[in-house]
Symmetry: D2
Subunit: 350 residues, 4 copies
C-alpha cells in the first residue's frame, strides 16, 4: 500500500509498504480525512532521533476495515476517530491516571514515533475498543479529525491550568494548539483571556475562539502588558502552547502567586528550560507547573465529539488549506514553511 514516510533524517517521500493486519485486540482503519501537524515536521528534522522509512502523521478519522478476534465495540464499516495518542490501558501509568505516559514517558504516543503513522492507505490501531470512537451522525469527518489531537491537546492545556470560574488566563502562542487552548479556557469558565500572538490571521481566530485581548509581542513586552492589564496581579493561569524557553519563562512571570502554569508545548531544544528563580517566587510562591501530552482514549474522543455534535465549538475555522492524499508532500512542505497563513492543512484520502 501507499504511505507517506520519513525516509531518513531530513527526507520525506511516498513509499510502498505492506498492509497491516490486526492482532486479537487491534483494528485496521481506512483513513478518510487527516491533518498535518507541526510535530511531524519536527520529527523529520530529528526531534525524536533517527527513524527509517516511518509512516508520518497521527491525526486521522476513517472507516474500520477489519478488527481482531477480541474486539467487541467496533466492526468493519464503522465510521470512527482514533486518538493521536493510543495508550496501553492496562499499563501502570494508565492505572495511575496518566495513560499518555503508558510504558514510559510519552509512551502512549505511538503513531509516527514507535510505529507507522496515519498517512497511508491503511492504519493499524492498538487496543481498538479503548482507542477508537464512533463519530456521531451530526459530525463531519473534517470536524472529527480535530478531536484526535488539536482539541484534545488544546483543551487539556486549559484543563491542566486549573482555571477558576471567572479567572484570568494568558495563552502564549495561537497556533492550532494555542487556539484550542484559548477556546478551552473559555469552556472552563475563564473571564478574561489574553492571547499572545503576532500573526494577524491567528490573532483574528484567537478573538473568535474567545480571547478578550490579543497581545502582539512585536509591539509590546507581553509580561509588562499582562501585568499592567491585571493591575499588577498577574493571571490565575498561563498556558505555554509553543515549546519555547522564553515564552515558558514569560508564563512563569505573568502567573500570580498561587496560580498555575500549564505547559502544552513540546520543548525541543537546549539542556535546560528556563525557570526564572525570582518570578517563580524562589520556589515558595505556590505557582504550580503542570504539563501534559494529548489525552487519548475512547471516552475522551466521545466527549470531544459530543462538543462538536452540540455545536459548542467549530474547529474547522482552522482549516486553511486542503490537499488530496497524493499531494500530502505539498501539505507537509507548507507546514514546514508556514507560508500563506497556514494553520492546519486538511488531507482528503478519498
Amino acid at each position: 500500500m501507499k504511505a507517506f514516510v520519513m525516509e531518513e533524517l531530513g527526507s520525506v517521500g511516498f513509499a510502498d509498504k505492506p498492509e497491516p493486519s490486526p492482532g486479537p485486540t487491534d483494528a485496521i482503519l481506512r483513513p478518510t480525512k487527516g491533518l498535518v501537524c507541526t510535530s511531524d515536521v519536527h520529527t523529520v528534522h530529528g526531534a525524536i532521533g533517527e527513524r527509517e522509512n516511518l509512516t508520518l502523521g497521527h491525526e486521522v478519522v476513517g472507516v474500520v476495515e477489519a478488527v481482531g478476534s477480541e474486539v467487541d465495540h467496533f466492526d468493519a464499516g464503522d465510521r470512527v476517530a482514533v486518538g493521536a495518542i493510543t495508550p496501553d490501558w492496562g499499563s501502570d501509568a494508565a492505572q495511575d491516571g496518566h495513560p499518555s505516559q503508558s510504558g514510559q514517558a510519552l509512551g502512549g504516543w505511538k503513531f509516527a514515533n514507535v510505529k507507522d503513522g496515519i498517512f497511508a492507505e491503511l492504519v493499524h490501531v492498538n487496543e481498538a475498543d479503548a482507542n477508537l470512537a464512533h463519530i456521531p451522525d451530526g459530525v463531519t469527518d473534517e470536524e472529527a479529525a480535530y478531536v484526535t489531537d488539536m482539541m484534545s491537546t488544546g483543551f487539556m492545556a486549559a484543563e491542566n491550568a486549573d482555571i477558576p470560574m471567572g479567572g484570568t488566563v494568558a495563552v502564549f502562542a495561537q497556533g492550532p494548539v494555542g487556539l484550542m487552548a484559548t477556546k478551552g479556557a473559555a469552556l472552563q469558565g475563564a473571564a478574561t483571556i489574553f492571547a499572545v500572538e503576532t500573526v494577524p490571521e491567528r490573532q483574528e481566530l484567537a478573538r473568535e475562539y474567545g480571547a478578550d485581548e490579543v497581545i502582539d509581542f512585536d509591539d509590546v513586552d507581553p509580561v509588562e502588558a499582562i501585568m499592567e492589564r491585571t493591575d499588577g496581579d498577574g493571571v490565575d493561569a498561563a498556558i505555554e502552547a509553543l515549546g519555547n524557553s522564553v515564552s515558558f519563562e514569560q508564563c512563569v512571570a505573568v502567573t500570580k502567586a498561587g496560580g498555575t502554569i500549564s505547559n502544552a508545548g513540546y520543548h525541543g531544544e537546549g539542556e535546560y528550560v528556563n525557570l526564572p528563580r525570582e518570578e517563580w517566587g524562589v520556589g515558595m510562591a505556590e505557582k504550580t507547573i503542570a504539563t501534559g501530552l494529548c489525552p487519548g482514549g475512547r471516552l475522551r474522543l466521545r466527549r470531544l465529539l459530543r462538543l462538536l455534535d452540540e455545536g459548542r465549538v467549530d474547529p474547522t475555522k482552522m482549516t486553511t488549506h486542503e490537499f488530496p492524499f497524493d499531494e500530502v508532500d505539498e501539505a507537509f512542505r507548507l507546514m514546514e514553511t508556514k507560508e500563506d497563513g497556514v494553520i492546519k492543512p486538511l488531507v482528503n484520502f478519498e
Copy 2:
C-alpha cells in the same frame, strides 16, 4: 431608617429601625439595587425558626456610606457589591476552604438570618475588606446584583458537579439558581445539558443559558427520559437546584457510576432526604454527593463581576419585574405566589 422586616412568623411589613454604625473592620452600605429571593419567603414561613423584627433580603449592591478604622480597600462613595454570604475569614472553616460554614454549619449566612438583611436604607457589612467588591465601570448595578447570590450559587452548583470537558449534565429545576447552574455547566465545558423544568418561561430561558434539551416532568418521567437519551449510561453529573427529596432521588438515579450529584437546593422538609439504595449503587458505585452554600468574599465577587464585564453571561434576562423599595412588599408577595411568570423581581432603592 426604613426597613422591610419579618415582623414575626408569617408576617412582613415596613418598620423604622436605628441606623447601623461600623465597627473597626466593617462598612455601611447604602443600597441601590436589590433582588428578592425565594429563601426570604421560606424564612418568613419558618424555615430557620422564629425571628422578630428582622430585616429581610440578602442580594444587594450599592454605595459605601462609611467604613471602620481598619478598613483599607474601600471608602465612602465606592460603588460595590456585597455577597449574600459574608464569612468570618479567620474562622477555622474558612481556613479549611469552607468560608460559607464559618463558625458553624451555614455560619457565613448572616443577612436576614442572624443579623438584619439588606432591604433597608442602610446595611451593615462585616469584614468589609474581605466581603465587598468594587463594581467595574462596564457593569450595571442590576447586573452586579446577580453576582451576590444567583450567579455565585448557581455557578457553584456547576463547579461542585466536577463536570468533565464534554460531559453530560442534568439540572433539576430552572428557577434562578437552576438557570445559573445551567449556564455554569456550559461555562465548565459540559457538552450536553438536560434541563428539567415544566414552566414554559423557564424552559425558554434554560435554552438561552445553554440547555440542549428541556425535559418537562409533566410529560415524561425525567429519569427514564435522561437514561434513554444517554443510551442507558446516565449523566456525568446531576445538579439539584430545587431542594426536593424527589428530585434529589432522581439526581442519584440519573448519575452514572463514578459521577457526581451536586446539591444546591435548600432541603426544608422531612426527617430524611431520600437516598435511594440501589440507584446509589449500594454505597459502592462511586457516585459522589457534593453540597454547598453560596460562596461569598471579595475574590469570588470580583471574578463573577469580571464575567459580566467581559460579556460572558447576561443574568438580567431573569429580571421579570421591577419595584421601587417602597413597594418591596409587593415584590415579596409576587415571589410568594410565583404568579405572572416571575423569576426575579428587581428592587430599585433610588
Copy 3:
C-alpha cells in the same frame, strides 16, 4: 477440578467443575492462600440475586499456571496476587478513573459475581497483565492475600475520606474493612481516630492499628460521644465500614460542616439509606459523601505489597482461624455465625 460453590440461594457445597483455559489476554492461577469474606455469605443469602453452581471467594494469591498469547508480564510459575476486583481497563469507566465500575456499576467485581470465584483448584483471571502483581520475596502468601481486598478496600475508605494532616476521623465498625480503614486513616495523617465497635477482640485490634479512642455503642451513643470529645466540632471525616443505614446516619451527624463521609460498607437492605436532613446541613453544609468499591489492578496491588514489604502494616493480626481448602465449608460457616471471635479465616490450598 474441585470447587466450593453456591449451589443455589442459601446452599453451598463442593462441586466438580471443568478446568478453565485462558483467552489471549488471560491467565490461569493455582491458588495457595485465600481468605473468606463476609460478602460471600451475603451472596449466598441473595444479596446479588440468584446464582447457580457459582464458585465462591475473591481474595486469593497463588502461582501462575498458564497465560494467554498476549500476556507479557507474567509466566507460568510466577508467585502472584490477583485483585478481588478485576476491571476491564479499556472501558469508559476505567478511562474515567473509576475502573471498579467498568462496564456498569460495580462492573469490575467479577469473581463470585458474574464469573466463578477463587475457591477452586484453578482460577481464571481476565486481563492478566493489568490485574495480577508479583509478590515480593519479603512478603508471605498470607500477608499478600490481604492486599487483594481488605487492605485495598479499607485503605480506599481512608483515602476517599480526604483526611487533612492532623485531622480527626471516626471509623464506624471494626470488622476487617473497618480495621484496615483505621490503619489507613493513620497512614493518611489522621491525628485522632475514633473507632466505633463493641466486640472486645476488634476493639483491641483497632487500638493496635491506630485508634486513639474506642467507642462502644453498647455503652454510649456514638454521636454524643464523638461530639463531646471534639468539643462539639465533629470530625473532619467519618468512615462507614458496616453497610448499615443507622451507622451511615451517625456518620453524617458526627462529620463537621465541610467534612467528608466516606462509605465503604455494602448497603444490602431497604429502599432508602437514611440521609438525615438537618445533620446533613439541609443540603448546604458542604458535607461530601464519597463511596467506593475495592480498587484493583497491578499498580494498586504493587503499592500495597510494597507497604507489606517495608513493614508498614501487619494485616495478619486479623487472621483468627486457618482451614485447609477441603474444609473451606467450615470456614464459610464460621464467617456466617461470626462465632469464636472470628475476624478472617485463612484458607490453605496446599
Copy 4:
C-alpha cells in the same frame, strides 16, 4: 525591651526596642521557647535584601500578654503557638486557598521580614484569632515550637507531593525541613522513602522518622541510585528540601512520568533554577512541579498540635542544643557554622 536584631547586612546583636502594643485584632505574646532557623542566617546575609535593626526569628511559643478589643478566642495568660507565617485571612490570596501568599508572593511571611521577629521579650501578632492556637496540656512548649515552621513546612512538602498510598518518595536533604518531610511522607502513606543526605547524624534521624533507605551523595550519584532501586521506574514523588538547583534537577530526574516534584527549599541564588529539558519529558511527561511556603493559621497549628498530643511524631529529636535567650547570638552563630552536628538550637526565654 531586649531584642536580638539584624543591625544591618551581615551584622547581628542585641538592641533595646520599644514594647509593641496591639491593634484591635492583634495580640502581644511573651515568648517561652523559640527555635533558630537557617533562613534567619540567610536573611542576615542578604537573602531578602537590606534590613535595619530588624528583630530576628519566627519560630516561637509563649503566653499571651495582651489582646486587642476585637479578639474573641484568646486572653492574657493563654499558652499559645503562633505560626511562622501569619496571613491576612481576608486577602484575595487567602480566599483563593493560598494564605501564605496574602498581599503578594510570600506575603504571609511577616516575622523578621516585613516586621520584627520573635527573638524579643514581647512579640506582636497580627489577626490573633486566626494566627494563634492554644497548646494542649499534653504538649510541651518545646514540642509545640516545632509546629510553627518545621512540622508545618516539612509536612506541607509531603502533602504537596501528592503521594499515593504505598508510593515511593525521595526526599533530598535531611535538615529539619527535610526530616519533617520524611516523617510527613510516612504520614501520607508512602511505602518506600529514599532520604538523600550525607551527614551521619541526619542520616540516623532520617531513619528514625521513616526513611527506608539513606542515599549518601558523597558515595553514589543519587539519581543513578534511586533509578536502580526503583528498577528504572523512578519515584512517585520527589521532595526538594534544600533550595539548590542541582538537587532540584535531581528531583526532576528521579520522578516518574505522571509524578510530582514538591519544592520546599528556598532557592536563593542564580537567575534560573535548572529545569532539565529531557528529564522533564520535554514538557509533556505530566511531571507536576508544586511549591509552597509554610502554612500558618489557627487550624493548621491545632491539627499539628493534635499530632503531638496523640504522640504520632516526636520532633524534639531534632533539638541538638539549648541556649538561654541571653545567648541567642551563640545559637545563631552555631546555625551559621553548622558545627557540632547541629540540627535545631532551642532558645529558652525564661
